[in-house]
Amino acid sequence: MNVQLDLGAVFSEWPLLLKGIFLTTFMIVVSGALGVLLGCVLAWMSSQNRGAQRAIASLYIEVLRNTPFIVQLFFIFFGLPSLGIKLSPLAASMLAMTINLSAYSAEILRAGIESIPKGQLQAAKSLALKPLQTYTNIVLPQAFKNTWPALVSQIVIVMLGSSVCAQISTEELSYAANLIQSRNFRAFEAFFVATVAYLVLSLIVRSFLDRVIAKLIFKDTHG
């Protein structure tokens, strides 16, 4: 058995790889922020006592959590045009990532919200804060702090999942690997390099969220 790996053939296509890495990063930065934001709104809806709001939020969350990301992506990219909603591959990918992340982060935040002591809410009420003020100023900061590690993991999972977006020809990292292997027939090497790049990206995203963003968000919360 004689296996020869030719990584040089892959690295010689570095501009493609770099472009792919850039797009994958761009997608997760935008979808990560929007997804968590939407997750906050959903968590707010499902923490309400109003039946309708709560039902809508939980239907949305359960449907997205119990179907594969690739099917959501195909539904948005191939299915929605028949309703007159035509999206570019990049827009469809980012929309799919955003709604997927929003459902998971809503569920994570909801667990964080439930763990907040009742006294906090009573204290907020006694200060005459409105429900929405209580949510954004009292509940959400604490929920974020309690669930931050889980949120970070979920954002990384969505980034890794975005490798599927090449299937609708979004030109992200795995698309670059696919393009390279179609040029030089070095399939294993191309996907190996892309895999290592994903691993490094996931480490960078994780430490960026843990060190930089966490400090920004939690700088004025105590405890």
């Binding site: 959590r65 594969p68 299915g79 975005s162 795995s174 895999t195 994903y198």
Partner: protein
């Protein structure tokens, strides 16, 4: 042109869904088997083994499943083993599940108070007896909810096997959608089928979790 009715679409998708179910079951069972071996290695208190497992888990959790599928699919061909989408999918999903399951179970075992291990030690039980009689029974109770929850993740993960050409529910959806020009209907049905597979399991997992947390 042959006209596809909604029933035709649904019937064909249901036929393909059998492969999704089969692949999920195999991946889950294989993952549980390999995962338990990894777990034992991780608990063995031998540094090299612990390191190996930690790196194994990090690698599988830190890279996309799609890339793992491709690497196994093309890697097997590279070392001269004949690959089919089916075998590559089974191997990749088994390894992927084993990493997650071993990590879930390790967490459950870690959550058992240290005193339990020490008590078992003081009873002069060996490592396997400690696991079997003292730690295991407690850890298994905690592990049911997350393990069942992972089953949902395993089912959803099988959808990626469609990318390397294995005809399961998602691939069948793509093919039928190409044949009928009704992507909206087809992918709604595909989504609904995944939902009807996954939701009962999610619901059960949540119920078990709730039951457990109420007891404590």
């Amino acid at each position: 042109m042959v006209e596809f009715s909604l029933w035709d679409i649904l019937r064909n998708l249901l036929l393909a869904a059998r492969w999704t179910v089969l692949l999920s079951l195999i991946a889950f069972a294989g993952g549980a088997l390999v995962g338990s071996l990894l777990l034992l290695a991780r608990l063995s208190r031998k540094r090299p083994l612990e390191w190996f497992c930690a790196i194994y888990v990090k690698l599988f959790q830190g890279t996309p499943l799609l890339m793992q599928l491709f690497l196994i699919y093309f890697g097997m061909a590279l070392i001269g083993v004949e690959t089919t989408p089916w075998s590559a999918a089974v191997i990749a999903l088994t390894l992927y599940s084993s990493a997650f399951l071993s990590e879930i179970w390790r967490g459950c075992i870690k959550s058992i108070p240290k005193g339990q291990w020490q008590a078992a030690d003081s009873l002069a039980l060996g490592f396997f007896d400690q696991l079997r009689y003292v730690i295991g029974p407690q850890a298994i109770k905690i592990s049911i909810a997350p393990t069942v929850g992972f089953m949902v993740q395993a089912i959803k993960a099988t959808a990626l096997a469609s990318v390397i050409g294995f005809v399961e529910l998602t691939k069948a959806g793509t093919m039928i959608s190409n044949a009928t020009f009704k992507p909206f209907v087809v992918f709604t049905c595909v989504g609904a089928l995944y939902f009807s597979l996954c939701y009962p399991i999610s619901w059960y997992s949540k119920r078990v979790e709730l039951k457990y947390s109420l007891k404590h």
